[in-house]
Subunit: 146 residues, 2 copies
Amino acid sequence: MTRERPGNPVALDPATRAVLADFSCRASEDAGTLQDCPVRNVLDRVGDKWSLLILITLSQRPFRFAALQREVGDISKRMLTQSLRMLERDGLVARQVFPTKPPAVEYSLTALGESALTPVAALVSWAAGAHDQIRDARHLFDAATP
Amino acid sequence: MTRERPGNPVALDPATRAVLADFSCRASEDAGTLQDCPVRNVLDRVGDKWSLLILITLSQRPFRFAALQREVGDISKRMLTQSLRMLERDGLVARQVFPTKPPAVEYSLTALGESALTPVAALVSWAAGAHDQIRDARHLFDAATP
DNA sequence: TCCTGCGGTCTACATCCGAGACTATATTCC
DNA sequence: GGAATATAGTCTCGGATGTAGACCGCAGGA
């Protein structure tokens, strides 16, 4: 029984594969470098569950805090605040305070934030297309494991 | 100062924007539909922190359990097991058991899993490019908030 | 006057996650 | 022969993390 075979036959764009192969911030070298890994750093933000949703919502237009919470739907104020701070820190979202009587705060995407929309849209697009297959796979899996 | 303005002037591919606009599974309608939202369902998997890393690792070649853990580097057995189960359930990863004396288990990407690599690679590519700006933004932000 | 909306913060409670111990079998080393 | 190691996980415990909801000060509307 051979182990770690070359893999199943697939046709994947070599350039795409190369991009992924380049991402070598794994167990290589010492653990310290894991923290500095560019992809990991950024992917941690994406893997925030809420960050992605916020980015997508803000892609339509700027929102004020309460409106943003209503639009996303099921996010707590706490997590909305926290996620927005992180996105602001990373320069993806801009926070602008208007000195009206009850101060109004508007959140919008920066140019960098906008640039993230392209790959995010690719992901969303794939998700929409794959959803049926995933749903079927889940039912199959759940039926097989009582 | 007008509120909820049309947005800052940006040049984003209209098709890209349309994809995101289409994703309207937010607070619209009742909360029940949130659970069935295709994008949310799939994005939850992406937002798993480890799922994405596992997918990227498996894009190189199939791995056995322990080898996969070593390759990813800082994932616990617990989360590796859990994430792999979810990915298997969603039909992105295939689990094959070889009945050797200590059973060998090999994990590999399915066709569906391979198809996810294209948008994931786009994301990784963007992350690599944006990393410098993000790092600078973080330093700026941290310096401004003592 | 009371109530609502604004942008948050704070506090309890619940859930999740990581580290490490533990299983059982087979091979390797001394 | 006996100890050590590797295999693929499972289990448990303590700490981190997330959620729901109360609360705050201020302003406008009924």
